[in-house]
């Protein structure tokens, strides 16, 4: 073998371009992207053709036109004379309303069920288990139909409505009617006081922490925090003269007037979402707790920590690691499943979009709106989860 001169760089043998993996890779990519592009071009050109032929408009101008349809349940002012944009916004608010309530209630119920399944009481554990199996193995849509039909057909009419709470709350097949306080300027301040109270609870917690670090004395910052967050609004309300004039639901003719109503569609949708998703959350919580190593609670006990302290400082932080990722994907599911509202007539975003497509014929723009709305929710939830995972990841060697 020839001895190479010292200092000269080794020469890499030349590779034929068609064998070079880098070049191959790029060629492959370009071919695939090219095929996809061809397909896209084919679809787009057909679409443009069809749209022109059927004289369907393009662009988002329709959003400023009058909507012309009623929406049964609105959180903000809306009438058929409002714009499409407003109609879609009402739908979006309804979707958010159902999703947020659903998430909160399903988490509470699911956690109770998950813990209940691990209970010492055999009967409680079995009941929770049967609940979970029953709800997990039947489609959500079926539950929605069942609840909706039961409420609207099996419940009595307004004239024979069931009443509770000394005649202030009425249950009929038109929904649940309950009294609401009449608007009074003080309620704005009550709302402000609530927010201030929450901020105050936060700072109280910080101060208590610092105090404990320095003196070792613990402080019941959680109960105190609740007290501040709830007490402050109540104080403001009292100071404002404690206005308690309510709007009461009264039976007038065929239905109730006054007060506020929760409609059967909403009840059925929320009930179905909560009961169904809580079964899945129960399983997530259960496996989170089971994933805890038994030695952790033993070590905490051996050190003299009380059960409450052990739960708060040692067990719960570790269980949450296992629980939070699948839990957030269940939250995402609730948001997506709320779209089933269209099947029982609750006016959520998909339902509004559907009517809009039928009336304007502009399918593409509307579909884009749906996708943008749901994608922003799911991407933010994913981003949150990634951030959370990175933050709490157990550091290993």
């Amino acid at each position: 073998m020839a001895v190479e001169a010292v200092g000269s760089a080794p020469r890499t043998p030349k590779v034929a371009p068609w064998n070079d993996p880098v070049i191959r890779g790029w060629v492959f990519q370009f071919v695939v992207v090219g095929l996809v592009g061809l397909l896209a071009w084919y679809l787009v050109s057909n679409t443009i053709d069809n749209l022109q032929r059927q004289k369907i408009a393009s662009g988002f101008h329709y959003l400023d036109r009058e909507a012309g349809f009623e929406i049964g349940d609105t959180m903000i002012e809306y009438s058929p004379a409002s714009t499409y944009a407003r109609a879609l916004f009402v739908g979006l608010l309804n979707t958010l309303k159902v999703s947020v309530l659903g998430v909160i209630m399903a988490t509470i119920l699911g956690t109770l069920l998950g813990v209940g399944r691990l209970s010492n009481n055999w009967l409680l554990a079995r009941i929770c288990e049967w609940y979970v199996e029953a709800f997990r193995n039947v489609p959500l849509l079926l539950w929605l139909f069942l609840f909706y039909k039961l409420i609207s057909e099996a419940f009595p009419g307004p004239r024979q409505a069931l009443s509770g709470f000394w005649g202030s709350v009425f249950l009929s097949n038109r929904g649940v009617y309950f009294p609401v306080p009449l608007t009074d300027p003080i309620f704005k301040w009550v709302g402000v006081a609530f927010l201030v109270g929450i901020a105050g609870a936060f700072f109280l917690h910080r101060w208590a922490r610092k105090r404990q670090d320095e003196t070792g004395q613990p402080f019941p910052s959680i109960s105190a925090g609740f007290g501040v967050a709830l007490g402050l609004p109540i104080i403001v309300w009292l100071l404002g003269g404690a206005p308690h004039h309510m709007s009461w639901p009264q039976l007038k003719g065929f239905n109730f007037e006054g007060g506020s109503v929760i409609q059967p569609e909403f009840i059925a949708l929320l009930l179905g979402l909560v009961l169904y998703t809580s079964a899945f959350i129960a399983e997530i919580v259960r496996s989170g707790i089971l994933a805890l190593h038994k030695g952790q609670s033993e070590a905490a006990a051996a050190l003299g920590l009380s059960r409450g302290q052990a739960m708060r400082l040692v067990l719960l932080p570790q269980a949450l690691r296992v629980i939070v990722p699948p839990m957030t994907s269940q939250y995402l599911n609730i948001t997506k499943n709320s779209s089933l509202a269209i099947a029982i007539g609750y006016p959520d975003l998909v339902a509004s979009i559907n009517v809009t497509i039928n009336q304007t014929g502009q399918a593409i723009e509307n579909i884009l709106i749906i996708m943008a709305a749901y994608l922003s929710v799911s991407l933010s939830i994913s981003a949150f989860m990634n951030w959370y995972n990175k933050r709490i990841a157990l550091r290993e060697r």
Partner: protein, 426 residues
């Protein structure tokens, strides 16, 4: 230190009799005051609810009424189910031919059950089971099959290409040449067919009367959508997962974007998209069978979720597996199909089965676009004015059927998890 007398000590029995049913009840139901109270409260509530339910569902139920009016006033109207069970199970399929969807369901169940037997987990066996089973299923449902020449040519092309890359370096030259020939015939044939040189010949198999997809309904529809949704979503999900993990940035970007897009939107919106937008995407005059549209939507949807599960399985493989395969000189196709995928798939089988259960339930959404799956046909049973007003009976019955399917699948999945873990160290 002295010894203690040992071995002479008698084995004392536990102080409290913890054995037997009384002991069991003491430990599991009444171990503390809180526990005892909970047990009592639960027993009382359950007894109350259960007695009310049984009263309605069994003791005062009507099994024999012939019209809705007769059923009113008593408990559950199971007679409605007796009247309409054929409608609920098979939809508007021609009444006298309903043995066909029945056997189609049997065929699909047979395919699924055979696939669940681990002895069948070899590519060729699965291929045979599914080809024959699918052929039988669709022959029964459609009644007549006209298989176009292009399909045969496409199959030849695919077999040829797969065989070529699979057996490269392993198979004999004769074998590789056979694959090359097949691929060539397939490719040339398809091109000629597209150019119109070869005629549009169809192989006709027509033993029964033709029933179009619009008349299909009930359990067969649910099973076909779920089963074939998953069967076709599976390879496409694998491709997506592999693409997402690839080093080539364009491929990876495409796959990530596609997966996140599909997973971020509800299935309902995809179904609406499929039914509303597909006609726009195709040249005027070309229509897509509505059933096929729903099936395609389910496949696209399922594939993205399957891709994520498989990706999890691929990520769990130790890097050494990939390295060993490379060191052996295998190309990408061989490495992936012989070494990586079998291991990854084994890991993800339980979550895949859970996904199947999920999609079995999700097929109920196709009622939004007017396909008559099982839930929709159950709905239809309520529409008849002569039998109006019994939603509880119909929906409970439908829930029961769904429950049987899904619960068995989940039990199988748990059993499989135990089986598969027997070989691994826990």
């Amino acid at each position: 230190m002295t010894d203690m007398p040992v071995g002479e000590r008698k084995q004392l029995a536990p102080p409290v009799d913890d054995s037997g049913p009384l002991g069991w009840a003491r430990r599991h139901l009444f171990s503390s005051w809180g526990n005892g109270i909970t047990t009592v409260v639960l027993v009382v509530s359950i007894a109350w609810i259960l007695s009310g339910f049984l009263e309605w569902a069994l003791f005062t139920a009507n099994f024999t009424a012939t019209t809705g009016a007769e059923c009113r006033g008593s408990g559950a109207c199971w007679a409605l189910i007796r009247e309409k069970y054929r409608l609920i199970f098979f939809g508007t399929f021609p009444y006298d031919q309903q043995w066909r969807p029945l056997f189609a369901v049997v065929a699909m169940l047979a395919m699924l059950i055979m696939t669940s037997d681990r002895r069948m987990w070899r590519p060729w066996r699965l291929l045979v089971i599914w080809s024959i089973g699918s052929f039988v299923t669709f022959l029964l449902m459609f009644g007549q099959l006209h298989i176009p020449l292009s399909l045969f040519l496409a199959v030849a092309l695919i077999v040829g290409l797969v065989g070529m890359s699979f057996r490269k370096g392993i198979g004999s030259p004769l074998e590789i040449n056979v694959y090359r020939a097949l691929a060539a015939i397939g490719l040339v044939g398809l091109v000629l067919r597209w150019l119109g040189v070869l005629p549009a010949w169809k192989l006709a198999i027509a033993p029964f009367s033709f029933v179009e997809t619009g008349l299909w309904g009930g359990i067969p529809v649910t099973m076909i959508l779920a089963t074939y949704g998953l069967v076709f979503a599976f390879p496409y999900g694998i491709l997506l997962a592999l693409g997402r993990r690839s080093n080539l940035p364009l491929i990876k970007g495409l796959c990530v974007g596609f997966i996140e897009l599909i997973r971020g939107v509800p299935l309902i919106s995809l179904l609406i998209m499929a039914s509303v937008m597909l006609p726009l995407f195709l040249p005027t005059g070309v229509t897509f069978d509505k059933f096929l549209r729903a099936q395609v939507a389910v496949i696209l949807f399922a594939g993205a979720y399957i891709a994520e599960i498989i990706r999890g399985g691929l990520q769990s493989l130790p890097k050494g597996q990939f390295e060993a395969a490379d060191a052996m000189g295998l190309n990408y196709v061989q490495k992936t199909s012989l070494i990586i995928l079998p291991q990854a798939l084994r890991v993800v089988i339980p979550p895949l089965i859970n996904t199947f259960i999920g999609f079995f339930k999700d097929t109920s959404l196709v009622l939004i676009i007017g396909i008559f799956d099982f839930l929709n046909t159950a709905n239809q049973a309520l529409v008849d004015p002569a039998w109006a007003g019994y939603p509880g009976e119909v929906y409970l019955f439908a829930a029961f059927v769904y429950f049987i399917f899904c619960y068995s699948m989940s039990r199988y999945s748990k059993h499989l998890e135990v089986e598969l873990n027997k070989g691994t160290r826990r």
